[in-house]
Amino acid sequence: MQTPAVDQSQEVSRILAQFKDRPGPLLEVLHAVQAAIGFIPPHSIGLIAEGLNLSRADVHGVVTFYHHFRSAPPGRHVLQVCRAESCQAVGGEALAEHARTRLGVDFHESTPDGRLSLEPVYCLGNCACSPAVMLDGRPYGRMTPARLDGLLAALNAPADTEA
C-alpha cells in the first residue's frame, strides 16, 4: 500500500533535518527518501529544494540525471538484468528477451499488477559469473531462462502476496 502524501512529506522533512548540515547533501537526501518511500515523490521536490536552499530545477535536474532515482513507485519486487558486454558474451541478451516476454513488460516498466519492475543494469560486477541478475538486491549468477522462471515463480508463492 502506498504511503499517503502527508506521511511522505513528514518523512522527507525528517530526512532533511538529518542530512541538511552535511557537505553536498542532495544525493544523500534523495537516497534516503527513496529508501524510505520507494521513490522520489514529485510533490517532495519543492520541499527538498527549500530544505537544502536549492532551486526546484536543481533538485529535479539531479533526480532525472541519475538512472537510480525513480519518480514513480516501483513494483513490489525489482528485477535488474545485466545487459553489459560480459553478460552478452554468454547469452545475456537472450535472457533479457526471455525476462521481457515472460513478464510481458519492457525494461523500465512494471507488471500491471504492480508486482515486479524490470530494470536494465550495466554491470553488477559479477562478470565472472555472467549472465548476472539482481532480484530485490540479491545477486544471482550464471542465470538461465529456466532458473529465472524458478525465481519468478517463487515470488508467486502465497507467502509473498503480502510483500
Binding site: D58, V62, S86, G125, C127, A128, C129, S130, R138, P139
Partner: protein, 513 residues
Amino acid sequence: MTTIYVPGDSGALSLGADEVCAAIGREAAARGLEVQCVRTGSRGAYWLEPLVEVACAGKRIAYGPVSPADVPGLFDAHWLEGGAHRLQLGEAGRLVWFANQQRLTFERVGLTDPHCVADYVAHGGYQGLRRALSMAPAAVVEQVLRSGLRGRGGAAFPTGIKWKTVLEQAAGQKYVTCNADEGDSGTFSDRMLMEGDPLSLIEGMTIAGTAVGATQGYIYLRAEYPHAWRTLTRAIAAAYAADYLGADVMGSGRRFDLEVRLGAGAYVCGEETSMLESLEGRRGEVRVRPPLPAIKGLFGRPTIVNNVITLATVPLILREGAEFYAGFGMGKSRGTLPLQLAGNIKRGGLVERAFGLTLRELLYDYGGGSASGRPIRAVQIGGPLGAYVPAAQFDTPVDYEALAAGGAMLGHGGIVAFDDTVDMVRMARYAMEFCAIESCGKCTPCRIGSTRGMELLDHIIQGRDPRGNLERLEDLCELMLQGSLCGLGGMTPFPVRSAVQHFREDFIGRAQH
C-alpha cells in the same frame, strides 16, 4: 570446534554461498558437531565458488564448488578431518591457478574476515600506516613515487606525482577521495577488494590523508554494489572503534575521518571530475580541466582522486618498501595488476600477476579457453571504452605501453572473452548505444553522435550500403574523438574502430534486408 571458511563475497553469494553456510550449520547441529563458519571474501576462482575451506591440522582444505545438497555427503566423508570427497581440492593455495599468481594487493582477500581489525593486523595490516606515521610526509609520497605505482582506474597516471601536487598545495582543507564507481563491464576487482579486504583500502586512504595533510576521506561507491556498501560501512566502524580512524589515528595525534557516499547509477560519474560533482550533490557533469582536482577538487579544495586498487596497494608499498613493489613488472608498468577474466571463459575470476604475462597465458592457462568450448575470437580489454583485440594479437604482453602500441588499452584490467559466434557489428552498435545511454549531455558529438552511430550501424546490420556507412561511421568516430570533453565520448570510437578494423568481414557482405 572446527573453523570453516565460507565466502561472503557477492559473487559467491550469487552462486548460493549463504545457502551452503546455512546447510553446514544445520548439518553440524544435527550431528552434534561444533563448527564455526567464518565469512571471508572470495579468493577469486569463481568457477569453484562456492569454495569452502575447512581448517584441519594447520591447513585449509578446500572443497568446491559446493552446493547445499553436497553438504550431508561432505560430513559423511568426514571433511572436518580432511576426508576424501569428489569435491576435495587439497590446499587452495597450492592449486596451479593460485600458485602461479603473485598476490600483493589481494594478499588477504579470501583468507581473512573482512570486518575484523585483529585478523587484518595479524595478516600484515596497519604496518604500512605505522611506518608512514613515523616518516616525513614528503618521504611517504617519495615511496609511492619510487614504487612506480600508476593509477589502476584506467588512465595509469603515476600516483606519486598526483600526491606530490596535493602535498605542495598550501595547508588548509584537503580531501582524499576513492573512486569506487567501477562501471566497466568485465571488471570486479574493486568490488572483490571492498568485500574481501576493505581495511586495506581504509589503511591506504589513511596513509594518503596523513601524507598530504588531508583530514577527510570519501569513498564514492556505485549504487549497484549494496553488498560492498555493507562491508565497507562495517569495516569503517571497526576501524573507528580501534582508533585507526578518527581524531587520533594510531595514537599519532593526527586526524583522519572517512565515509562512504553512494553514487546513483551513472557510468560517467566514474570520470573523476564528474565524480567530484556527484560527491558535491550535483548532476555528474564533467568539469573542464584545468584546474586539476589535485589543485582544485572537491568543494574547490586540493583533492586526491584514486581508484580502489591504487589506494589498497599503498599499505603494502609502505610496509615492504618501494623497491619491493617496483621489483615486479616490466618497462614502465611496475608492480602487479589484478586482472579480471570474464565473459565467455571457462575459468573466470581474478588473476593478480606482475605486468608482462601475455593475453594468451591469461585466456588459456588461467582461463582454460572459452566456456562454450568454441574458439575465442575477440576479447574486449578495459571496459566499454576499450578496444576489441583479435586472436592474432593474443601474444601481446599485459603492459600499458605494449597494449597501447597495438591500439588497445588496459584500463582497469578487465578482459571479456567472446567466442566465434559473436557478431562484431552488434558489439560496435552496443558501444554507441551505451554511450548514448550514459552521456552526460555536455558535448554534442557525444550526445548526438552516439545516437547517429547507432543508426549507421543499424543500416550496416541490415546490409544497406555497408561501405558508404562505414565511411560515415569513421568520420563520426573522428568527430567524437576530437570533439568530446571526456573519455566517454572520446573513447567510444575505440571499440567501434577496432571492431571495424579487425573484424571487417562482419560489417561487409551481410545479406540486405
